[in-house]
Structures are given as C-alpha cells and as structure tokens.
Amino acid sequence: MDGKYGGYHTNTLNPTCTGTSVIAVVYDEGVAVMSDTVVSYGKSARYKNVTRQYKVNDRVIVAFSGDHADFHTLQNIIERQVSKWAVVGQKLNPSALYAFLTSLMYQSRCKMNPFWNTLIIAGWEDNEDGGKPFLGHITQKGVAFEAKHTATGIASHLLTQVIEDETRDKTALNRAKAESILRRAVELAIYHDCLADNEFEIGVVGKTEKASVHTQKPIIGDWSIAETNCQYE
C-alpha cells in the first residue's frame, strides 16, 4: 500500500490469524512434532480444527507457529519446490528444505517484509549409514539451528526446560516416550498459555514410519484448583 501522504511503501508487519506454540522432540528412530489446532484472532479462538502441520512428503513435516496466511504462502512456495525436485526425479529431503526455507526467511527479512512464522522442520534424513532424524528450527528473521528438541512461541519460554529435563541423559528415547513428553507439554501449555488449546495433533516421521499427522484425544487436565482460586476482577 502506498502511504496516503508520504507516498512510501509499507509492508504488513502485524500478524492477524495466528497459531501458538509448536513443540518437537527427536527420538531414537524419528521425530515427533506437537501443535494444537486452534487459530487465534488476537486473543479469541477464532477457528478450530485447523492443522498447523504440513506434510511435505513421506519424510518431511513442516510445522509452524505465527501467521496462518503467511504460512499458506510458504506452503505454496514449498509445493513449487517439491515439484521442481520431482522434475529431476528427486524427493525433497529435510535438510535441503531447511536450507531453502532459511534462505527464504532471511531474504524476506532483508526486504523488511517478513513471513510472520517460526518454522519447525521435522524429517528423516536418508544417508548411507541408515539415515538419521532431522529437526530444524527457523525464526522469522532467518536465524536457524538444528536441535534435539525445540519449541516455538511461549512454549520456548515455559516448556523447553521441562522437555530438556525429560530428554537429558536418556540415550534411547522411543516414540511412545516422546509422545508422552509432548502430551505432558500440551497439558502444561493449556494451563499457562491462553492461546493454547487442548485439541492437538502429533506429527511423526521416522525410519519406519512415513510422515503422518495424527489428531489426538483432547487433554482435559486437572482444573480442581479453579474451585479455590476465583480471583476474578
């Protein structure tokens, strides 16, 4: 939009419909990603049952927090990248997509027109020695890193310690354990994050499992404390 008076170009720098935290954990033979399914419009839970995990192919899942519209654009861009690779008979692998998206996020930041998303790239990286799990984290400004476990949004403040305590010094974390850690994280998230929801999905991609996103049973949690703590204004 051209400014009415100044005539200078302005970019949208506020998100509208957003998703809150994503949490992901690497286990021995794969990666598990958790995200809830509510779309917030400011503080209101505007839409429900909307997924925040995009299955790129059999071995990559991209999950996001932040603006939904921006992610739809990204999804489109990723799709184009997938077909570009398909032309030469290749399947997009997680580290390639991670590198691509890092550059893309950094480039749009440099144009002062960022994608308002934090991306989590989970996948299984095939190589000669049987492959390995891949988990990458990319911020809005193009800061990217790989990790054994990671979280975005408010969960990166509240829950990384919980996940770290659970995963530290445990050499073999299996899928069931990883998922139970994520469920525990959801429970803590709904207690502390007013944008989080108890309806959530867990995406899994691993050596034997092809990438898939599963809707989970909602977690109710323990709200008995609400009876005694009623300090409403």
Binding site: M105, Y106, R109, M112, H137, T139, K141, F145, T160
Partner: protein
C-alpha cells in the same frame, strides 16, 4: 504542527465555503485525516523506532588468539533469545572456511549464517578460478569489503577472522559491523567482549601486567589454557555465555583441530 499539516490547513482555508462547499469539505477532510494519521507527538524518529526490528541478538561470545605458528579460536555454544531464554545449547558459532581460515561470529545469527554462505561461495569460486586456496589476508579483505557493501543495512555479526597466513604465522582480523578491519594479536567479540578483552590484554598482550612479573612466552598450550580460563570466567558473569566451549586450533602445516569442553549450563 508540521509544515505539511500547516500547508494543508492553509489549503482548506483557501476554499470559500459559500461558493465551493464540497471543495472546502474535501480539503478539510484531508487535513483532518492527516492529523489523525500523523499526530504531532508522532515524530519521524518515533515512527522509525516503532518499526519492526530486523535484527535479533542471539548472545554468546567468541575470541581468537594468534601465536607464532598457530591460532586458537574459541566460542561458547549457547544460543539465547531475548537474553534470558536459552534456545539451544550446542550451536556452532565457529565456521572453518578452509584448511587455514576460520570465521567466528557472535551477534545476529541470521546474518552470521548468510555471511558464512557468502564467504564459502567466494572461496569456492576463487579455488575454481585460480586453482589454489585463498590466503587468510585476502579473505580478510574480502570480508571487510562485503561488510562495507552492506554499510546501510549491516551484518550484525561481531565477526573475527582467524587463520594461518602465507608465512605460517597466526593471524587474527577484527571487524566492526561495517567493515573496519584491523590485524591484531588477539581479539574478542560478543556479549562478553568487555570481559574477555581486559583479560587477554593482561595475559596475552602483557600490557596491564605489573613490572617484574613473569611474562611467559605464548605457546599453543598456554593460549588454549588462557582461552579456556577466559570463557570459564565469562560463563560465571555473563548470562548469554555458557554451556560449552568450542575451541578450534589451527597450526601451520597441520589440519584444523576441534576441542569441546563443558561450561556451566545455568
């Protein structure tokens, strides 16, 4: 009232409401909308400050010490968001670019990644064009020019370039964000720079040492030990530095060596 608003209102007054009521109303509306959009208290500078910030600081510190035939580069591996939140404990901030050039960064990680990619591409092209590896002096100049190229949208990386020069001597090049370059015997950057530099001044540069104190020669062992101690100290006092030290040691005629030591994790 800005000059612009004043001019608009003058324009509004020019209209004679009796003969051109619509024109008067239009001019009034324009002036009114402008006042609403750009109120007096919202100066240019304030608008500038409220804009989205394209930088974020990921914390951490790094330093490099050059010796006669070696260079020791060290960095912590912590990555933080907003000073208090540790988002990763094992990020590599030292990037070996070739057999004798090491880049190390502490600042905005997005720029650091981009800068590494840029230098790697240039080095690759140089190898292709000239069929030899770039010397560290050349690479240092290249980095300085690339930094200055982005003079008005700088790479906020706190870069230090280290390596072994063509005479087999250790070299450390220190930069500011916009490409001011200096070859130094030792340098530090990042969040704990104000702590690392005086320590290195005393122990490596011997500039703040009392007279008559022993001034041991800088061997590789002493350099690595000093750097380790420096980081142990910083981890105690600087919150975005910690988790572990990543040491990269380049010696003349030898391949680059990596060493990792634990630091405190709180």
């Amino acid at each position: 009232m800005s000059f612009y608003q004043f001019a608009l209102i003058q324009m509004a007054l020019k209209y004679d409401a009796k003969h051109d009521p619509l024109g008067a109303m239009r001019a009034f509306k324009t002036a009114f909308a402008d006042v609403e959009e750009n109120p007096d208290w919202r100066s240019r500078r304030l608008i500038e400050r409220q804009r989205w910030n394209p930088y974020s600081m990921e914390g951490g510190s790094t330093c490099a010490v050059a010796g006669d035939n070696f260079v020791v580069v060290a960095s912590d591996t912590r990555m933080t968001a907003g000073e208090i939140n540790v988002i990763n404990r094992e990020v590599d901030k030292i990037h070996p670019l070739s057999d004798n050039i090491v880049l190390t960064t502490a600042g905005f990680h997005g720029d650091a990644l981009q800068m590494r990619k840029l230098l790697e591409t240039h080095l690759h092209k140089y190898r292709f064009d000239y069929r030899s590896n770039m010397t560290v002096d050349l690479c240092a100049e290249l980095l300085a020019r690339n930094l200055y190229y982005r003079r008005f949208f700088p790479y906020y990386t706190g870069a230090i370039l280290a390596g072994i020069d063509e005479h087999g001597k250790g070299a450390v090049f220190s930069y500011d964000p916009i490409g001011c370059i200096e070859r130094l015997p030792y340098s530090a950057s990042g969040a704990a720079e104000p702590m690392l530099v005086p320590f290195l001044d005393c122990q490596v540069g011997h500039v703040t040492l009392s007279e008559g104190t022993e001034r041991p020669k800088l061997t590789l062992e002493r350099a690595t030990a000093l750097v380790r101690d420096a980081f142990r100290g910083c981890a105690e006092r600087e919150i975005t530095t910690g988790d572990s030290i990543h040491l990269v040691i380049a010696e003349a005629g030898k391949p680059i060596r990596h060493e990792r030591r634990k630091l405190r994790e709180d």
